[in-house]
Symmetry: C2
Subunit: 541 residues, 2 copies
């Protein structure tokens, strides 16, 4: 490992050095007393970029965004069990995204644990609920090895959440000999067997059956989508995509699968006529929530599910092999560049989406967590310049802003656009500060409707009744109204409020031509969400 | 139960009704789709006050503050495992505070769990890491009973954190018959046996021994402190208090124990000459963190620890009985009303404390989480008008603002003062919104030093070295500086920035004579924390 300050090394130094050697370059951190040696180790080794966040949910969400864009782990540094707790919701999302990540959780010195000091908790039990790999380090001399094992664990399959608990005394103990700098070869994904490829090809050759590919995980990257497009053209198969992809390449020039809708009623309609669904990195579609009288499984009873590749297998390679097996040489239908006009004069989500489609530069990254409002984004931006969308994979809001941080650090030359509902944005609002601290090229768009609007729809769908004043008070953000300009300013982000489509066009187009963090508060026109949704969905909802 | 809307009752209605019948009057909530029936139940039963919060850490911290001030549980309503995760750090603090609390965690319908939809997680495993009692409801017909059992569990000992997992289908299923409205008698704390009282009295009568009472839990309430003062006067025993009390009655007219200092070096000095420590609601003092070369146990090897009452036993009654056994009839030395002048011209924590001591009205509640800065608050306010202090019991920052919310809702006629470091305040900054939504009489004082200042001290104490640029970047909040006036305005709180002692005197005295939420940004003078601390502590640090 590269040693910035030649001196005696302690466990923390050797751990950080080992992570750098294994390719970990960024650490999203909010440290405390039990992590002090890991903090000073940042200057003892070369090559680690520490990023301070003001709440741990920002750290874990940022590591998620970084991992989604690079397919390699960032580290987080969390302060004992409570620090881990604060990061847990976004670890849940990251695990659902299959993102590689290494969490370093400081703990009390091993000798101190039995004293049950106030910050003591069962970190392993907590970590086990949201992580794929959890190890408690046993001594300073094994910290480097444990660090590398954590990185190896993070690379398993499509990606895993790995957590290493670092007792304070192991971090401060002097090590016997620093670990030799060995080349690190990240593990690769398992390949799908030939027999499965042949079986899928056979299903696709049955001309009298309705067959669909359902893509998820890395099946939504460029190469995979290209292969899927060719397969579709050669066989007539439909190509669908999972509802909340971790990373989805879309836009002009790219083959465009049809996402399975969030609303179970609509998804059932889409899926009901299929004879076979071939799963490639996606799970069989199920309803996001249960609703009285609606089934949770969204496929029709007669539909055969054929698992070609799990999310942890090499989905891209499987699609390429399948296309080859089918002689699917001709490119599929690629999405045309379309920039639809805003559909109405009022500032509505579709209008916002139309303006985004017009101005979003090639290769942008969109971190999307606008809940209700995203229903306007997707149709409008289908033909925008090619971009990646990172969506809310685990359903736990507060992921959008942190993921934008991580994506911007991973890809400093790409524009990042963070689309947020007002309710979502408040969950990890501390993120705005880190955008400025790191001078990240992120444009934050807050859809302000003063409401957890999705819940008004869910109230109807769950059959919970009309809801009286108290119920409504639990879904409304209008007393007091949030002032997003002041919020942005409080953390040093320049901001603009827009109330018309023209305002938004001006603000967004300007943001796209400049660099650095900024926020646009979009004051949405009041609309009847349920009516709008029913109109969009048709009789299925 | 009182039924606001006569109709068919479902599980959620009967659960909320049972909680109201058992005396639960407030529910701090951030619901989602799986809690919709609990949301509409708010209007179906009478007597529950739902309080919307914009992040679950605010809900659990607010329930903690409410429970500390009322000795009875508030409810929280949390959205599946991720909602619980977001509230976990403050559940950790609440459990360390022995606060009664009932968490209602919505989950997927039981039929939906096996589908592993995106929000699915092991809620029980998560809850078990921070709760004393966890139950998964089995059917709509037992939801009322489970609710009452949760309340009974919350009342065990000094107070417990109870969590009931509510499957969505049990909430929406129609119940067979509503639970009859039975009178609810909360469980009472166990009394300490006579033999233990006699044994403690015998220890205290040994005139040649240095004996101290160490008070914690409810041993820091009025009646307990009065008894402790009398015992001290009659026997010469010293009276100490735990470092981070859940609720501490202090100020003019009240007997004042000597808190065990946070810094282990100072605590050891205080405790080293004691022959016997009698524990009353407090645990044996241990260091908050481990430090290289410092012992974790703070008492001297020869000191005998005598457990008179655990925190879960009736500590107040034990102290009264002990005073009686000792014929300690004469009142102890009560704290004089002192309002010391600010010790220097610059705006420093001691100066802030001096102004608070001068203007804080009788019976205020102080939620204190100012980390480094609180070192100036305590000495200056020892002789302020009588007040209650609620401190950070579990070491997980982000508790101060939510606790202030809960205390203000519990005690609407008392002034609540929330003292926060800038780093702490950012953790659950969403709290400001709920202060306005509920129009709570809370004055928030943010000590702005643009730093996690305590960590600069801990860097020295842990022997982690000087720290280079990267290390310093992980402890500094100065790029960008937080603008607390804008932050307050973003959530509708009126705010003032002060840079001198006179400014603060003007702002704070005004805040004390008016009602409603407000924030004062205290721009602290730059001081050398380590030098200041060493000066205060003397040669022990």
């Amino acid at each position: 490992m590269k040693q910035a300050t030649p001196s005696t090394f302690n466990g923390a130094d050797t751990l950080l050095g080992a992570l750098v050697d294994a390719g970990v370059e960024v650490c999203f951190a909010n440290p405390g007393t039990s992590e002090m040696q890991m903090v000073t180790a940042m200057d003892h080794v070369e090559g680690m970029h520490p990023v301070l966040v003001l709440f741990e949910g920002v750290a874990t969400g940022a590591a998620d965004g970084y991992g989604r864009m690079t397919d390699k782990p960032a580290a987080t540094m969390l302060h004992l069990g409570p620090g881990l707790s604060n990061g847990m919701a976004n670890l849940h999302n990251a695990r659902r995204a299959h993102t590689p990540m290494v969490n370093l959780v400081g703990d009390h010195a091993t000798t101190h644990l039995e004293l049950d000091a106030p910050l003591t908790s069962d970190i392993v039990a907590q970590a086990n609920t949201v992580c794929d790999w959890v190890t408690v380090n046993g001594s300073a001399n094994t910290l480097a090895t444990d660090g590398i094992n954590a990185v190896v664990a993070a690379y398993q399959g499509a990606g895993q959440v790995a957590t290493l608990v670092v007792p304070a005394n192991h971090a401060w103990d002097v090590i016997e000999a620093p670990l030799a700098n060995k080349p690190f070869d990240p593990p690769v994904q398992a390949r799908v067997g030939r027999d499965k490829i042949s079986q899928a090809a056979a299903s696709l050759r049955q001309g009298d059956k309705q067959v669909a590919l359902l893509l998820g995980g890395r099946g939504l990257r460029d190469r995979a989508l290209d292969a899927a497009g060719r397969i579709s053209r050669a066989t007539g198969a439909r190509v669908l995509s999972e509802t909340f992809p971790a990373r989805w390449r879309r836009g002009a020039g790219i083959f465009s699968p049809q996402p399975v809708p969030y609303f179970a009623e609509l998804a059932q309609g889409m899926l009901r006529d299929l004879d076979t669904i071939i799963l490639l990195g996606a799970k069989a579609p199920v309803a996001f929530f249960a609703y009285p009288g609606l089934p949770g499984v969204l496929t029709a009873p007669g539909t055969e599910l054929q698992l070609l590749a799990t999310v942890d297998e090499d989905v891209e390679e499987a699609l390429v092999a399948l296309a080859l097996e089918l002689d699917a040489a001709k490119p599929g239908e690629s999405q045309a560049r379309i920039s639809p006009p805003p559909p109405q004069e009022e500032l509505c989500p579709a209008g916002v989406g139309a303006v985004i489609a017009e101005f979003m530069p090639e290769n942008s990254i969109v971190s999307e967590e606008a809940a209700t409002s995203s229903l306007g984004f997707y149709p409008m931006t289908a033909g925008a310049a090619a971009h990646d969308v990172l969506s809310l994979t685990g359903g736990s809001i507060g992921q959008g802003l942190p993921v934008a941080i991580g994506a911007a650090i991973a890809c400093p030359d790409r524009k990042v656009i963070s689309l947020l509902g007002d309710g979502c944005a408040m969950y990890t609002i501390q993120s705005l500060w880190t955008l400025v601290r790191e001078n990240l090229d992120v444009t934050v768009v807050v859809y302000k409707n003063n409401s957890y609007a999705i819940l008004n729809i869910e109230l109807m769908r769950t059959g919970a009744g009309e809801g009286g004043d108290k119920a409504r008070s639990l879904m409304s953000l209008d007393n007091p109204e949030l002032d997003w300009i002041a919020m942005a300013r409080s953390m040093g982000v320049s901001a603009r409020r827009v109330v018309t489509v023209e305002d938004f066009r001006s603000a967004f187009s300007e943001a796209m031509t400049q660099r650095g963090p900024r926020l646009i508060e979009v004051c949405l026109a009041e609309i009847d969400w349920i009516a709008a949704l029913k109109k969009m969905a048709g009789p299925d909802l």
